[in-house]
Protein backbone atom coordinates (compact mmCIF):
# COMPACT_ATOMS: atom_id res chain seq x y z
CA UNK A 1 0.00 0.00 0.00
CA UNK A 2 1.07 3.50 -0.63
CA UNK A 3 1.52 5.10 2.77
CA UNK A 4 2.49 8.50 1.45
CA UNK A 5 -1.12 9.32 0.62
CA UNK A 6 -2.64 7.72 3.68
CA UNK A 7 -2.71 4.22 2.33
CA UNK A 8 -4.71 4.94 -0.82
CA UNK A 9 -3.69 3.13 -3.92
CA UNK A 10 -5.85 5.40 -6.07
CA UNK A 11 -5.67 9.18 -6.27
CA UNK A 12 -7.92 11.22 -4.05
CA UNK A 13 -10.58 13.06 -5.99
CA UNK A 14 -10.69 16.83 -5.77
CA UNK A 15 -14.43 17.06 -6.41
CA UNK A 16 -16.64 18.78 -3.78
CA UNK A 17 -17.28 16.42 -0.93
CA UNK A 18 -14.54 14.13 -1.98
CA UNK A 19 -12.35 15.22 0.94
CA UNK A 20 -15.00 13.82 3.28
CA UNK A 21 -15.01 10.59 1.40
CA UNK A 22 -11.29 10.42 1.65
CA UNK A 23 -11.44 11.16 5.34
CA UNK A 24 -13.97 8.43 5.86
CA UNK A 25 -11.91 6.00 3.89
CA UNK A 26 -8.86 6.98 5.87
CA UNK A 27 -10.70 6.39 9.10
CA UNK A 28 -11.89 3.01 7.93
CA UNK A 29 -8.43 2.03 7.05
CA UNK A 30 -6.82 3.38 10.18
CA UNK A 31 -9.44 1.81 12.41
CA UNK A 32 -8.15 -1.62 11.50
CA UNK A 33 -6.10 -2.85 14.47
CA UNK A 34 -3.24 -3.91 12.26
CA UNK A 35 -3.00 -0.46 10.68
CA UNK A 36 -3.74 1.67 13.73
CA UNK A 37 -1.13 0.05 15.87
CA UNK A 38 1.20 3.03 16.11
CA UNK A 39 0.64 6.10 18.23
CA UNK A 40 0.85 8.37 15.21
CA UNK A 41 -1.94 6.56 13.47
CA UNK A 42 -4.12 6.54 16.54
CA UNK A 43 -3.55 10.25 16.81
CA UNK A 44 -4.52 10.62 13.19
CA UNK A 45 -7.75 8.77 13.87
CA UNK A 46 -8.50 11.04 16.78
CA UNK A 47 -7.78 14.13 14.72
CA UNK A 48 -9.99 12.90 11.92
CA UNK A 49 -12.81 12.13 14.33
CA UNK A 50 -12.47 15.60 15.78
CA UNK A 51 -12.76 17.06 12.30
CA UNK A 52 -15.85 15.00 11.66
CA UNK A 53 -17.43 16.12 14.88
CA UNK A 54 -16.66 19.73 14.08
CA UNK A 55 -18.47 19.39 10.78
CA UNK A 56 -21.67 18.46 12.57
CA UNK A 57 -24.52 17.24 10.43
CA UNK A 58 -22.46 17.23 7.27
CA UNK A 59 -19.92 14.90 8.77
CA UNK A 60 -19.44 11.45 7.42
CA UNK A 61 -18.98 8.71 9.95
CA UNK A 62 -16.60 5.96 8.99
CA UNK A 63 -17.90 2.49 8.59
CA UNK A 64 -15.99 0.58 11.19
CA UNK A 65 -15.85 -3.08 10.59
CA UNK A 66 -14.32 -5.98 12.39
CA UNK A 67 -10.94 -6.90 10.99
CA UNK A 68 -11.14 -9.64 8.47
CA UNK A 69 -8.29 -11.13 6.54
CA UNK A 70 -7.88 -10.47 2.88
CA UNK A 71 -9.15 -7.24 1.47
CA UNK A 72 -11.46 -6.15 4.25
CA UNK A 73 -10.03 -2.65 4.06
CA UNK A 74 -10.49 -2.25 0.38
CA UNK A 75 -13.96 -3.70 0.65
CA UNK A 76 -14.94 -1.19 3.30
CA UNK A 77 -13.31 1.65 1.47
CA UNK A 78 -15.04 0.69 -1.74
CA UNK A 79 -18.42 0.53 -0.08
CA UNK A 80 -18.00 3.97 1.38
CA UNK A 81 -16.57 5.42 -1.77
CA UNK A 82 -19.36 4.08 -3.90
CA UNK A 83 -22.13 5.30 -1.61
CA UNK A 84 -20.89 8.37 0.22
CA UNK A 85 -24.43 9.41 1.12
CA UNK A 86 -24.78 6.21 3.11
CA UNK A 87 -22.12 7.25 5.57
CA UNK A 88 -23.57 10.74 5.68
CA UNK A 89 -26.94 9.38 6.64
CA UNK A 90 -25.50 7.64 9.66
CA UNK A 91 -24.13 10.77 11.25
CA UNK A 92 -27.52 12.19 12.26
CA UNK A 93 -28.38 8.78 13.62
CA UNK A 94 -25.42 8.93 15.94
CA UNK A 95 -26.40 12.36 17.17
CA UNK A 96 -30.02 11.28 17.64
CA UNK A 97 -28.82 8.23 19.53
CA UNK A 98 -26.68 10.34 21.82
CA UNK A 99 -29.55 12.74 22.40
CA UNK A 100 -31.89 9.87 23.26
CA UNK A 101 -29.31 8.37 25.62
CA UNK A 102 -28.82 11.73 27.32
CA UNK A 103 -32.56 12.19 27.68
CA UNK A 104 -32.93 8.70 29.14
CA UNK A 105 -30.06 9.32 31.53
CA UNK A 106 -31.60 12.58 32.67
CA UNK A 107 -34.93 10.85 33.17
CA UNK A 108 -33.49 7.87 35.02
CA UNK A 109 -30.79 9.49 37.14
CA UNK A 110 -33.11 11.50 39.39
CA UNK A 111 -34.93 8.29 40.30
CA UNK A 112 -31.74 6.61 41.36
CA UNK A 113 -30.51 9.70 43.17
CA UNK A 114 -33.61 11.33 44.60
CA UNK A 115 -33.19 14.95 45.50
CA UNK A 116 -33.57 15.62 49.23
CA UNK A 117 -37.02 16.93 50.04
CA UNK A 118 -35.73 20.07 51.63
CA UNK A 119 -39.14 21.66 51.97
CA UNK A 120 -40.73 18.76 53.84
CA UNK A 121 -37.85 17.80 56.11
CA UNK A 122 -37.96 20.84 58.44
CA UNK A 123 -41.73 20.63 58.68
CA UNK A 124 -41.55 16.94 59.56
CA UNK A 125 -38.92 17.61 62.23
CA UNK A 126 -40.92 20.47 63.70
CA UNK A 127 -44.14 18.46 63.73
CA UNK A 128 -42.48 15.47 65.40
CA UNK A 129 -40.79 17.68 67.98
CA UNK A 130 -44.05 19.39 68.83
CA UNK A 131 -45.84 16.05 69.01
CA UNK A 132 -43.23 14.71 71.42
CA UNK A 133 -44.12 17.50 73.81
CA UNK A 134 -47.73 16.26 73.81
CA UNK A 135 -46.77 12.70 74.62
CA UNK A 136 -47.87 13.05 78.23
CA UNK A 137 -51.41 14.02 77.31
CA UNK A 138 -53.85 11.21 78.10
CA UNK A 139 -55.22 9.37 75.09
CA UNK A 140 -58.98 9.41 74.47
CA UNK A 141 -59.10 5.72 75.31
CA UNK A 142 -57.77 6.55 78.78
CA UNK A 143 -60.32 9.32 79.21
CA UNK A 144 -63.15 6.90 78.42
CA UNK A 145 -62.80 5.53 81.95
CA UNK A 146 -63.81 8.89 83.30
CA UNK A 147 -66.94 9.08 81.21
CA UNK A 148 -70.05 9.19 83.31
CA UNK A 149 -73.20 8.19 81.44
CA UNK A 150 -75.38 11.17 80.82
CA UNK A 151 -76.75 13.41 78.11
CA UNK A 152 -74.24 14.56 75.49
CA UNK A 153 -72.64 17.92 76.20
CA UNK A 154 -72.34 20.00 73.06
CA UNK A 155 -69.02 21.69 72.45
CA UNK A 156 -67.31 19.68 75.14
CA UNK A 157 -68.13 22.22 77.84
CA UNK A 158 -69.09 20.76 81.20
Amino acid sequence: MNRSNGGFSEPISKEPGSSDQALVALLVELSEPARAATADEREAVERALAVLEARGAGAQTPTLRAPSPGGAVSEARGAVARTPARAGRRAPGVFVGLAVAAAVALAVLPRHQPAPDRAVEPLASAAHAALASLALAPAPSDRVREVVPGPPRRGGQP
Binding site: A130, S141, D142, V144, V147, P149, P151, P152
Partner: protein
Protein backbone atom coordinates in the same frame (compact mmCIF):
# COMPACT_ATOMS: atom_id res chain seq x y z
CA UNK B 1 -77.39 25.32 18.82
CA UNK B 2 -76.02 28.82 18.40
CA UNK B 3 -78.68 30.58 20.53
CA UNK B 4 -77.79 28.26 23.37
CA UNK B 5 -74.11 29.05 23.18
CA UNK B 6 -74.23 31.59 26.01
CA UNK B 7 -75.95 29.02 28.21
CA UNK B 8 -73.14 26.55 27.59
CA UNK B 9 -70.59 29.21 28.54
CA UNK B 10 -72.62 30.09 31.63
CA UNK B 11 -72.82 26.42 32.63
CA UNK B 12 -69.11 25.93 32.06
CA UNK B 13 -68.32 29.01 34.11
CA UNK B 14 -70.60 27.86 36.90
CA UNK B 15 -68.99 24.44 36.90
CA UNK B 16 -65.52 25.95 37.02
CA UNK B 17 -66.62 28.22 39.83
CA UNK B 18 -68.16 25.32 41.76
CA UNK B 19 -65.04 23.25 41.31
CA UNK B 20 -62.93 26.05 42.68
CA UNK B 21 -65.29 26.60 45.55
CA UNK B 22 -65.49 22.89 46.38
CA UNK B 23 -61.74 22.33 46.43
CA UNK B 24 -60.76 23.11 50.02
CA UNK B 25 -57.61 24.95 50.90
CA UNK B 26 -55.09 22.20 51.71
CA UNK B 27 -53.92 24.23 54.71
CA UNK B 28 -57.42 24.78 56.07
CA UNK B 29 -57.76 23.82 59.72
CA UNK B 30 -61.15 23.99 61.32
CA UNK B 31 -61.24 22.60 64.84
CA UNK B 32 -63.74 22.21 67.64
CA UNK B 33 -63.46 21.14 71.24
CA UNK B 34 -64.89 17.66 71.64
CA UNK B 35 -65.38 15.71 74.83
CA UNK B 36 -66.37 12.13 75.43
CA UNK B 37 -69.83 11.44 76.71
CA UNK B 38 -72.55 8.88 76.29
CA UNK B 39 -76.25 8.82 76.95
CA UNK B 40 -77.84 5.45 77.29
CA UNK B 41 -76.64 1.91 77.73
CA UNK B 42 -75.80 1.33 74.10
CA UNK B 43 -73.76 4.51 73.79
CA UNK B 44 -71.96 3.81 77.04
CA UNK B 45 -71.22 0.24 75.98
CA UNK B 46 -69.78 1.52 72.71
CA UNK B 47 -67.42 3.90 74.46
CA UNK B 48 -66.34 1.32 77.00
CA UNK B 49 -65.70 -1.32 74.34
CA UNK B 50 -63.77 1.16 72.18
CA UNK B 51 -61.67 2.19 75.17
CA UNK B 52 -60.86 -1.44 76.01
CA UNK B 53 -59.93 -2.26 72.41
CA UNK B 54 -57.70 0.79 72.12
CA UNK B 55 -55.91 0.12 75.37
CA UNK B 56 -55.37 -3.52 74.39
CA UNK B 57 -54.05 -2.49 70.99
CA UNK B 58 -51.74 0.09 72.54
CA UNK B 59 -50.40 -2.42 75.03
CA UNK B 60 -49.55 -4.95 72.33
CA UNK B 61 -46.39 -4.83 70.25
CA UNK B 62 -47.69 -7.46 67.89
CA UNK B 63 -49.15 -5.94 64.73
CA UNK B 64 -51.10 -9.13 64.14
CA UNK B 65 -52.99 -8.48 67.37
CA UNK B 66 -53.28 -4.72 67.07
CA UNK B 67 -54.65 -4.59 63.55
CA UNK B 68 -57.85 -6.65 64.04
CA UNK B 69 -58.70 -4.76 67.22
CA UNK B 70 -58.33 -1.40 65.54
CA UNK B 71 -60.01 -2.28 62.26
CA UNK B 72 -62.94 -3.77 64.19
CA UNK B 73 -63.30 -0.55 66.14
CA UNK B 74 -63.30 1.52 62.95
CA UNK B 75 -65.82 -0.81 61.32
CA UNK B 76 -68.17 -0.67 64.28
CA UNK B 77 -71.09 1.70 63.73
CA UNK B 78 -71.32 4.57 66.16
CA UNK B 79 -74.61 4.46 68.03
CA UNK B 80 -76.70 7.52 68.64
CA UNK B 81 -76.08 9.69 71.70
CA UNK B 82 -72.35 9.19 71.67
CA UNK B 83 -70.31 12.35 71.85
CA UNK B 84 -66.64 12.31 70.87
CA UNK B 85 -66.58 9.04 68.94
CA UNK B 86 -64.38 10.86 66.43
CA UNK B 87 -61.65 11.04 69.07
CA UNK B 88 -61.62 7.29 69.53
CA UNK B 89 -61.75 6.64 65.80
CA UNK B 90 -58.85 9.03 65.27
CA UNK B 91 -56.85 7.28 67.96
CA UNK B 92 -57.53 3.95 66.28
CA UNK B 93 -56.58 5.34 62.87
CA UNK B 94 -53.36 6.88 64.22
CA UNK B 95 -52.39 3.57 65.86
CA UNK B 96 -53.14 1.71 62.64
CA UNK B 97 -51.09 4.24 60.69
CA UNK B 98 -48.14 3.78 63.02
CA UNK B 99 -48.54 0.00 62.73
CA UNK B 100 -48.67 0.09 58.93
CA UNK B 101 -45.73 2.44 58.45
CA UNK B 102 -43.31 -0.48 58.22
CA UNK B 103 -43.41 -0.48 54.41
CA UNK B 104 -44.58 1.59 51.49
CA UNK B 105 -47.67 -0.55 50.90
CA UNK B 106 -48.70 0.03 54.50
CA UNK B 107 -48.05 3.75 54.15
CA UNK B 108 -50.30 3.76 51.11
CA UNK B 109 -53.04 2.07 53.14
CA UNK B 110 -52.55 4.62 55.89
CA UNK B 111 -52.96 7.46 53.40
CA UNK B 112 -56.16 5.84 52.17
CA UNK B 113 -57.49 5.50 55.71
CA UNK B 114 -56.47 8.84 57.19
CA UNK B 115 -56.94 11.01 54.10
CA UNK B 116 -60.75 11.11 54.27
CA UNK B 117 -60.74 11.38 58.07
CA UNK B 118 -58.41 14.38 58.10
CA UNK B 119 -59.47 16.13 54.93
CA UNK B 120 -59.32 19.94 55.21
CA UNK B 121 -63.04 20.08 54.49
CA UNK B 122 -63.74 18.46 57.88
CA UNK B 123 -63.91 20.00 61.30
CA UNK B 124 -61.38 18.15 63.42
CA UNK B 125 -61.38 17.61 67.19
CA UNK B 126 -59.01 19.95 68.99
CA UNK B 127 -57.11 17.19 70.72
CA UNK B 128 -53.57 15.79 70.84
CA UNK B 129 -54.78 12.63 69.16
CA UNK B 130 -55.71 14.66 66.08
CA UNK B 131 -52.19 16.05 65.96
CA UNK B 132 -50.82 12.55 66.28
CA UNK B 133 -53.01 11.35 63.41
CA UNK B 134 -52.02 14.34 61.27
CA UNK B 135 -48.32 13.77 61.84
CA UNK B 136 -48.63 10.08 61.01
CA UNK B 137 -50.61 10.97 57.89
CA UNK B 138 -47.84 13.38 56.90
CA UNK B 139 -45.27 10.63 57.43
CA UNK B 140 -47.31 8.23 55.31
CA UNK B 141 -47.81 10.76 52.54
CA UNK B 142 -44.10 11.47 52.55
CA UNK B 143 -43.31 7.77 52.44
CA UNK B 144 -45.43 7.30 49.31
CA UNK B 145 -43.84 10.34 47.67
CA UNK B 146 -46.66 12.86 48.03
CA UNK B 147 -44.52 15.67 49.41
CA UNK B 148 -47.19 18.31 48.85
CA UNK B 149 -49.72 16.45 50.99
CA UNK B 150 -47.05 15.73 53.57
CA UNK B 151 -45.99 19.38 53.84
CA UNK B 152 -49.52 20.72 54.13
CA UNK B 153 -50.43 18.04 56.69
CA UNK B 154 -47.39 18.78 58.84
CA UNK B 155 -48.30 22.46 58.75
CA UNK B 156 -51.85 21.71 59.82
CA UNK B 157 -50.52 19.52 62.63
CA UNK B 158 -48.22 22.29 63.84
CA UNK B 159 -51.02 24.83 63.74
CA UNK B 160 -53.30 22.48 65.65
CA UNK B 161 -50.66 21.96 68.31
CA UNK B 162 -50.26 25.73 68.58
CA UNK B 163 -53.99 25.97 69.16
CA UNK B 164 -53.74 23.29 71.82
CA UNK B 165 -50.98 25.22 73.52
CA UNK B 166 -53.05 28.40 73.39
CA UNK B 167 -55.99 26.54 74.90
CA UNK B 168 -53.85 25.14 77.68
CA UNK B 169 -52.07 28.43 78.42
CA UNK B 170 -54.34 31.32 77.45
Amino acid sequence: MRPHGWRAWLLAGALCGCEGAMAPDPLRLDVEVVSLSADGAEATAYLQQAGRDLRAARASDDPQRREPLLTALLARPVPARVEGAALLRLEAAALLCETWMQDVAGARRAVGLLGPMLTPARTLPLDPVTARALVCYGDAARRVGDDDAAASTYMRAIRLMQRLQEEAMP
